[in-house]
Amino acid sequence: MTAALFFEQLLNGMQFGVTLFLMAAGLTLVFGVMGLINLAHGSLYMIGAFACAAVAAATGSFWLGLVASIVAAAFAGAIIEVSVIRRLYDRDHLDQVLATFALILIISEGCRFVFGSFPLFLDVPAILAGPVILPGGLPYPIYRLSIIVVGGLVALGLYLLIAKTRLGIRIRAGEADREMIAALGVDIRTLYTIVFALGAGLAGFAGAMVGALQSVQVGMGEPVLILAFVVIVIGGIGSIKGALIASILVGVVDTLGRVSLPSMFGLFMDPSAASSIGSSISSMLIYVLMAVVLIFKPEGLVSQNG
């Protein structure tokens, strides 16, 4: 592999990692602060993508679609929190898994009911279409580059929100001791709704950005959800910083593994078998990474208690 190709794959890995981060950030907040396993997080991602595609198709503006994706997903998240999730905080995780799994089915079929079963069209805006030439003569899609930048900005914004604002202090306090913060007069119910809607909005935003690159269809959220769970386990549950580190790590390891393993096996096997075995092993790679991290750091890379 040449240096340029390696660098390009590194960028691809980062971009993949950043989109994972947008999903994982909400998931880890909800899981860390509220102690809730939310399988329907992938459905919020899908809602974002569908809202963006529908609004972009109706108005012709991708940017309005992007705004709509955040609003729609956050709104859906708030409704779900008030109507369903709120009743689940005191239940055990199995009940939460069952209820949020039911939400996946309801939202998926609801989406199909409204939008039909054919994938929707959503393309990157004209200003971000096509490649840009990076230093060193490497062409790289502008849109992917912008995803990396936007993801970085969101990470920074979340850090400032959690570390520097009153809302952030309350979120951290709610994570540490739910009863005490309620006793101090903070409206914990509203706080939870806000956190859930924030996470949902981020997921919807990720869905819209990725939807323009991939395909907007029913069921698009579930594969990402699984990876997002891997990310929050590696990163340490409840930690935004951990989620950022872990998602970049997972993105880079997955991408580089996918590229280099088949050619490594190709050194001592015939190409067809090498490709087949290499791709099978590379798809396990992030789970191997997760296992290794958990052996040495059972609480994840960034532990909340340490």
Binding site: V210, S276, S279
Partner: protein, 381 residues
């Protein structure tokens, strides 16, 4: 006296009707197809095409029972059992996916029922596992890929980069392409099934020095690949089977698909009367252009109707013979079955074009003429 006259008239009418229709018996048809979950667009198209033909037919004694398999093999098996045992259907059809077909078809034909496949064509059922009661009205799975391999030779590609998901149909696809393609391979890559990010593969394609890219990525995978490929600025020509460029998907891929060559046994501009009537009536009935899958559903229903015209479905030998001769106006033009009950047919090369605002395909050439699948000799029929 008045009564008698009335009786006489209706008797006369009956005789007239009977003599003009020769014989058109009824039948109960069970359709198991994917109507919900991932890939339901394909099942919906097959169903709509099929029901269009049934509704257009004069034969009002055909009853169709439709159930959704949600793309789950175990569910498809349950539905098949129920349809045979309690619904007492004579003919089954509808399955989209090869893994579901493999779970259902062998037991259905073993119970003496007929199965007509409107889509899946796994190699096992074309070769050693062929059965007199199993008819494939679409294609054997490898066919469209083989056609693209032949086309790559014809236009002189010498260094193809080939790409498919890591699952049986993906491997069959690349095998099919390589069976006909004579040039070198710049790379052969199996991606994770369901993957939607192809940045890494596209970077490798750019670096590989290939002169063509052949890919088989059904459904959302193909949409994602084409959009990302177009955005990457790589301009190596892309080839693929019709599945990633068919009517249901083109809208979601958008202009990124323009100009791509793909192989298909059918296209909506195929010049024959049956096809023109089909495209027009499908658009009128459903308000959209028909897809490859809709055309296959339509042909399947018309094949069944043509066989019912001459034979009673309860007389298995006569009905089987009537299916085998395939005396119906296929939307593909000529249609006939080979020894293994799979079609021998032309496979065309289509190009994605823009017709007004709608992306669609037009035929630009013939890839394989009267093509027989590679497994026909292995079949003992």
């Amino acid at each position: 006296m008045r009564h008698l006259k009335k009786f006489a008239v209706s008797a006369l009418a009956l005789t007239l009707a009977a003599s003009s229709m020769a014989y058109a018996g009824g039948a109960k048809i069970g359709m198991i197809t994917t109507l919900s979950g991932g890939g339901s667009g394909l099942g919906i198209d097959v169903r709509d095409g099929f029901m269009l033909a049934i509704n257009q037919s004069d034969n009002k004694d055909v009853e169709v029972v439709i159930e959704d398999d949600a793309r789950k093999p175990e569910l498809a098996v349950q539905i098949a059992d129920k349809m045979i045992q309690s619904e007492k259907v004579d003919i089954l059809t509808g399955i989209i996916w090869s893994n579901l077909a493999m779970a259902v078809v062998p037991s259905v034909v073993a119970q003496g029922k007929f199965y007509l496949s409107p889509n899946a064509g796994p190699s096992q059922l074309a070769g050693k596992g062929c059965n007199p009661n199993y008819f494939n009205v679409a294609w054997q799975n490898d066919n469209l890929h083989e056609a693209m391999g032949a086309y790559a030779n014809a236009v002189g590609y010498k260094n193809s980069y080939i790409l498919a998901p890591n699952y049986p149909a993906g491997k069959d696809a690349l095998t099919g392409y390589k069976r006909f393609y004579e040039g070198d391979l710049a790379g052969e890559v199996y991606t994770k099934l369901g993957a939607t990010d192809y940045a890494a593969e596209i970077a490798q394609i750019r670096a590989s020095g290939a002169d063509s890219v052949f890919f088989f990525l059904p459904g959302g995978m193909g949409i994602a690949f084409m959009k990302q490929y177009a955005a990457s600025g790589v301009d190596i020509p892309v080839l693929g089977p019709a599945f990633s460029f068919d009517q249901g998907i083109l809208g979601a891929v958008g202009d990124a698909a323009l100009g791509v060559k793909n192989s298909s046994q059918w296209s909506n501009d195929l010049d024959n009367d049956a096809n023109k009537a089909f495209v027009a009536s499908f658009q009128e009935a459903y308000g959209r252009l028909p897809s490859l899958y809709a055309s296959q559903g339509f042909d399947t229903a018309n094949l069944i109707l043509s066989a019912l015209d001459g034979a009673d479905v309860k007389d298995a030998d006569a009905f089987r013979a009537a299916l085998k001769v395939a005396e119906f106006d296929s939307v593909r033009g000529d249609f006939r079955f080979g020894n293994n009950n799979h079609p021998i047919q032309n496979i065309y090369v289509r190009e994605v074009v823009k017709d007004g605002d709608v992306l669609t395909n037009k035929i630009v050439g013939l890839a394989l003429e009267q093509h027989t699948d590679a497994y026909a000799q292995e079949c003992g029929m």
